[in-house]
Amino acid sequence: MNAPMSGRVAIAGVAESDLGITGRTPMALQAQAVTRALAEAGLSLSDVDGYCTSDLAGEYAPSVRMAEYLGIRPTYHDTSALGGASFLSQTAHAAQAIRDGRAEVVVVGYARAPRSWNPPVPAAPLYGPGQYERMWGAPFPVTAYALAARRYLHDHGAAPEQLAAVAVAARRWAGLNPAAYRRDPITVDDVLGSRMIADPLHALDCCLVTDGGGAIVLVGEDRARDLPQRPVFILGHGDASTHMNVSSMPDLTRTAAAASGERALREAGVAVGDIDVFQIYDSFTVTVLLTMESLGLCGPGEAGPLVAAGHTAPGGDLPMNTNGGGLSYCHPGEYGIFTIIEAVRQLRGACGDRQVPGAELALAHGTGGELSATSTLILGSNR
């Protein structure tokens, strides 16, 4: 096996599985996404020599299990687990493996089916560090995000309307995406009028719960040039974590994005102001505001007014979550892989009504746990 001459690695295929309420298993959805991504890349299962996933129905050795389900025998595996940020990290690792000549065709896959596949799990007692948070019986992760949101509003004298504006912008993008689960327009009043879950977060401040899977296919640049899709290159990457349980979060309004974003941008040799389109994990509305500020898109307290003024919505100068995001498009549990898929489609110019004109540089960003761990990727089509 020879390392690609250019040293650059491209995403040659991306796909979703069936989405929504599918009646399918997580295994079936992940297999769907993988075979669809390979098909659009002009490759087949027999070409795959690397497999990465963070999860398969909650069982250990998920990449081994999924490889068996697919009938493949990978010689490169990665199960790096950063919650919803896992896939961005695995994509960067896979790129390095291809650069090193350790693999030629690597697939990153993921699926869950929370609407269709819920085998009974016996209730286990609390154990480990999480017990000191879970002992109150409050719902997680929403309680953690609500605590951060309350602190954010307090520190900046901001109103819940600023959180709601994130959901409104997501829904406007979803209206342009035929694959989105919820597409009817909503207003700030709709968000504020939806059921309160954990003050200040309402039902419409929270991501969807839908079935879905995604997959991406990575190859060296030389091979990508011979494949049908316009290659999208991995230009920079950073991972970071600040805590796992929210009571250990050093600053409730600043996420690990400050570190992962800075590393990714530095590696790519670009500034955040150079980015044409952003795909930022929106588990909750507050996640987007904290991430925007932590990535340096704006200063502390400035993200809410920016979103409320429409900058991240269709037609804005900071187009963000153009598929409708976890808030309106799809959210099976660890959404991060969909940030990569949408970034790639934008950079190919393949997004139809929601296409950001001339997008050449994208930032995809995952957040896992309770604002705990982040992974940032810089992707480009023309560099």
Binding site: A123, A124, P125, L126, Y127, G128, P129, Q131, Y132, E133, R134, M135, W136, G137, A138, P139, T143, A146, L147, A148, A149, R150, R151, H154, R195, M196, I197, A198, D199, P200, L201, N245, V246, S247, S248, L252
Partner: protein, 133 residues
């Protein structure tokens, strides 16, 4: 709506914490070498790496860092807060008392170990202190 407080598997890290609650105290490890209090309980000091830790009792005073009111489907609600203990560490707790809904960031709260099995609830300090949940 009935609240469900999950039970814990008590292990070598957590048993002294739960045992102290059974006697009405909130205990946590303190580092013999640098004096740092640790919560949640751990086997090594996060400030200096020392394994020489001694369990001590918290004074039971704290300041609210953030809070959220959890709304249940049947219309019930309760208040969960992040509080900064006087000893330094931050923890998650439930604020109880008739005036729990008046909680605010920066409010002073006092420990109330109650329930079965006992848990480290807090109440707002001040005039309403001591009323029933």
């Amino acid at each position: 709506m009935t609240r469900v407080y999950p039970s814990a598997y008590e292990d070598a890290d957590s048993q002294p914490f739960w045992a102290a609650l059974g006697e009405g105290r909130l205990d946590m490890p303190r580092c013999d070498d640098c004096g740092r209090h640790l919560f949640y309980p751990r086997a090594v000091c996060t400030a200096c790496g020392s394994e020489r830790l001694t369990w001590v009792t918290a004074r039971g005073r704290a300041t609210v860092h953030s809070f959220t009111t959890i709304h249940q489907r049947d219309g019930g609600s309760y208040v969960i807060a992040l509080v900064d203990l006087a000893e330094g560490p931050r923890m998650i707790t439930e604020i109880i008392g008739e005036n729990a809904g008046e909680v605010a960031i920066g409010a002073e709260v006092v420990l109330d170990v109650t329930g079965d099995p006992p848990r480290p609830f807090f109440r707002l300090a001040g005039p309403a202190q001591g009323r029933d949940a």
